[in-house]
C-alpha cells in the first residue's frame, strides 16, 4: 500500500475522515458486543438496555459512511487502492451495522432470560464464545486499520472455532430443552444469542475478506471454512425425540 499523499489534499482529508468514521463505528460495535455479553452473564437488564439504545448511533454512522463514500465516488472518481478502500469501507460499514444489530438482539433477549433461572454450564460455553467473537471482531478491525492482510487471513481461519462453539452450544441447548420443558423459553433465547454471536463472527470474517481485497486487490482464493453443522442435525433430533415423534 502507498502512504504518499494525494496531490489534491482535500481527497486525503476525506479518506481520513471516512476511516475515522469506520474506527468510531468499530469501537461502538466492540462495546455493544462487550456490553451485551456482560449484561447476559451478570443478568443486568440496565446494561442490556444501554446496548439497545446505543444501536441507533451505529446506524447513524453507517448512513454517514454511505453518504461520504458515494460523494467520493462521484466527485473524486477514485482508482486503484483508493477505489478499493471506498468499496471496502462501504461493505465494512454494512457489516458493522449488522453486527450492532446482532448485539442489540442479544441485549433484548437478556431481559427475557433474566426471568428464568440460569441454564447451568452453558453459560460458561456462551461466555467463551462471546470472548472469542469479541477478539475476532477486534482483530478484523485492527487488520483494517493496519492494512494487514496476514492478520485478516488469520481472522478468516479462526471463524471456524466460532462455528464449532456454536455447534456445541446448539447440542447443549437442545439437550436442556428435551430434559426440562420449562427451560425451552430461556434455551430458545440462548440459542438465538449463540446464533447472533456466530453471525457476528461471520461478519468479522467478511470484514477480514474486505481487508484482503483492499490490500492485495483480490478476494481470498480459498473458500472460507464454514463449520455451522446445525442445519444438518435433523438425524440427531430424531434420535433425541424418537419416543414422541410427530406425525407429518
Amino acid at each position: 500500500m502507498i502512504d504518499r499523499k494525494h496531490i489534491h489534499a482535500a481527497f486525503d482529508e476525506e479518506l481520513e475522515h471516512i476511516h475515522t468514521l469506520i474506527m468510531t463505528m468499530g469501537g461502538l460495535v466492540e462495546q455493544a458486543i462487550q456490553k451485551s455479553s456482560t449484561a447476559l452473564r451478570i443478568r443486568d437488564t440496565e446494561l442490556s438496555e444501554q446496548v439497545v439504545e446505543n444501536d441507533s448511533a451505529i446506524d447513524k454512522i453507517e448512513e454517514s459512511v454511505n453518504v461520504e463514500a458515494v460523494n467520493m465516488l462521484s466527485r473524486r472518481q477514485p482508482q486503484a487502492q483508493d477505489l478499493r478502500t471506498i468499496v471496502a469501507v462501504m461493505k465494512i460499514s454494512s457489516n458493522l451495522e449488522r453486527m450492532g444489530d446482532y448485539a442489540k438482539n442479544m441485549a433484548k433477549r437478556t431481559s427475557v432470560i433474566v426471568q428464568s433461572p440460569p441454564l447451568g454450564p452453558s453459560n460458561g460455553s456462551l461466555k467463551q464464545m462471546s470472548k472469542t467473537v469479541k477478539q475476532l471482531t477486534k482483530d478484523a478491525l485492527d487488520s483494517f486499520i493496519r492494512r494487514d492482510a496476514t492478520k485478516a487471513a488469520n481472522v478468516i481461519q479462526r471463524d471456524e472455532d466460532v462455528d464449532q462453539m456454536y455447534n456445541a452450544l446448539f447440542r447443549e441447548f437442545l439437550t436442556h430443552m428435551m430434559e426440562d420443558q420449562r427451560s425451552i423459553t430461556p434455551a430458545m433465547h440462548y440459542l438465538f444469542i449463540a446464533k447472533n454471536l456466530e453471525r457476528i463472527g461471520d461478519h468479522a470474517t467478511s470484514i477480514a475478506e474486505q481487508v484482503i481485497f483492499l490490500v492485495t486487490g483480490s478476494l481470498p482464493e480459498q473458500v472460507r471454512p464454514k463449520d455451522d453443522q446445525t442445519p444438518y442435525q435433523d438425524q440427531r433430533l430424531e434420535v433425541f425425540t424418537s419416543n414422541d415423534k410427530c406425525k407429518p
Partner: protein
C-alpha cells in the same frame, strides 16, 4: 519492462485474449538529439482491441504512438531504434513506403484539423491520393461509408459541400476520424482525440471508439484516466520514458502491480 506487463489471471478479458497480435514493438528506443525519450519499450498490441496509453506529460506515450506509423520520421533530430512490426512485418524495412504505411496506420490528432475544403473533400482526400476509387460513384460510396462509421453521416449528408471548418468541434473531430478511416486503415492511432472537446462531444467520440474497434485496432493516448478506463480493453502506463505496466484495463484501474502506476492513477504523482 517488468513482469507487471504480463496478463493477470484474475482479469482475463476473453475478447482480447482471443485477438491476434497486430502490432509488436521490440526494444524501442527513441532519441530527440541526445535525449532518450523512450527506453526499451516492448509490447504487443492486439487486433480489434482498444489500447490506451496513459502517463504524465513527457512520459513518452505520444512519442511511442508516433513510432507506430513512423510519424517521428518527419522530425529531423528524432531517431528511433528497435523493431516495430505490423502483422509481423518490420515497418522500418526499406521496401516499406511511409506514406503507404500511414494509409494502413491512420492517425487522429489532439485538435480537430480539417482541411480548408468541403466536408466531402476532406474525407475524399485520402482515397484520392491513394487511388482507392476508380469512379465518382465509388468515391461517393467511400465518403458515405467513412462518414457513417464516424457517426457523422446523418448530421452532414445534406451539406457535404459545406466547408469542414464550419462544423462544431466535436463534428470536426469526427470528420477527422472519417478522413482517417476513409483510406481503410488497419490501425487507428488517436492522440488525445477528445482533449479539446466538451463532455457531450467526448461521449460521442468514445461511443464511436467502441464501434471502431469492430473494424480496426485502436490505440489511444489520453490524459483522462477515466477515458482510458471507459474505452480501452488494454492500458499501458508510461513514466519517464519507460513502459511501466501494461495489462487488462480493469486490472490496471483496480489493482495495478507497480507502485508508480498506483501513484499516478490515484493522483499521487503528476
Amino acid at each position: 519492462m517488468s513482469d507487471n506487463t504480463q496478463g493477470s489471471p484474475e482479469a482475463v478479458d476473453l475478447d482480447s485474449t482471443l485477438s491476434a497480435v497486430k502490432v509488436t514493438a521490440k526494444d524501442v528506443n527513441v532519441y530527440y538529439s541526445d535525449v532518450r525519450a523512450l527506453q526499451d519499450v516492448s509490447m504487443e498490441i492486439l487486433d480489434h482491441t482498444v489500447t490506451a496509453f496513459i502517463g504524465p506529460s513527457g512520459c513518452g506515450k505520444s512519442t511511442f504512438l508516433r513510432c507506430l506509423n513512423r510519424m517521428n520520421d518527419t522530425i529531423d533530430h528524432c531517431r528511433v531504434e528497435g523493431r516495430i512490426e505490423l502483422d509481423g512485418e518490420d515497418i522500418h524495412r526499406r521496401s516499406i513506403d511511409p506514406v503507404q504505411l500511414r494509409a494502413r496506420v491512420g492517425m487522429v490528432f489532439q485538435k480537430p484539423n480539417p482541411f480548408p475544403k468541403s466536408i466531402y473533400d476532406n474525407v475524399a482526400y485520402g482515397p484520392r491520393i491513394h487511388g482507392l476509387a476508380a469512379t465518382r460513384a465509388e468515391l461517393d460510396e467511400i465518403v458515405e461509408s467513412a462518414l457513417r462509421s464516424s457517426a457523422l453521416w446523418d448530421e452532414v449528408k445534406d451539406r457535404l459541400r459545406m466547408p469542414g471548418t464550419g462544423l462544431s468541434g466535436g463534428q470536426q473531430q469526427r470528420l477527422c476520424i472519417a478522413r482517417a478511416v476513409a483510406t481503410k486503415p488497419e490501425v487507428l492511432l488517436m492522440d488525445e482525440p477528445c482533449s479539446s472537446l466538451d463532455p457531450i462531444a467526448t461521449s460521442q467520440i468514445e461511443d464511436l471508439i467502441d464501434h471502431l474497434r469492430e473494424s480496426y485496432t485502436v490505440v489511444i493516448v489520453t490524459h483522462s484516466m477515466q477515458q482510458a478506463a471507459r474505452v480501452s480493453q488494454k492500458t499501458a502506463f508510461f513514466h519517464l520514458g519507460n513502459l511501466v505496466e501494461f495489462n487488462d484495463t480493469p486490472f490496471i484501474f483496480t489493482a495495478p502491480q507497480d507502485e508508480r502506476t498506483e501513484s499516478y492513477i490515484t493522483g499521487r504523482i503528476g
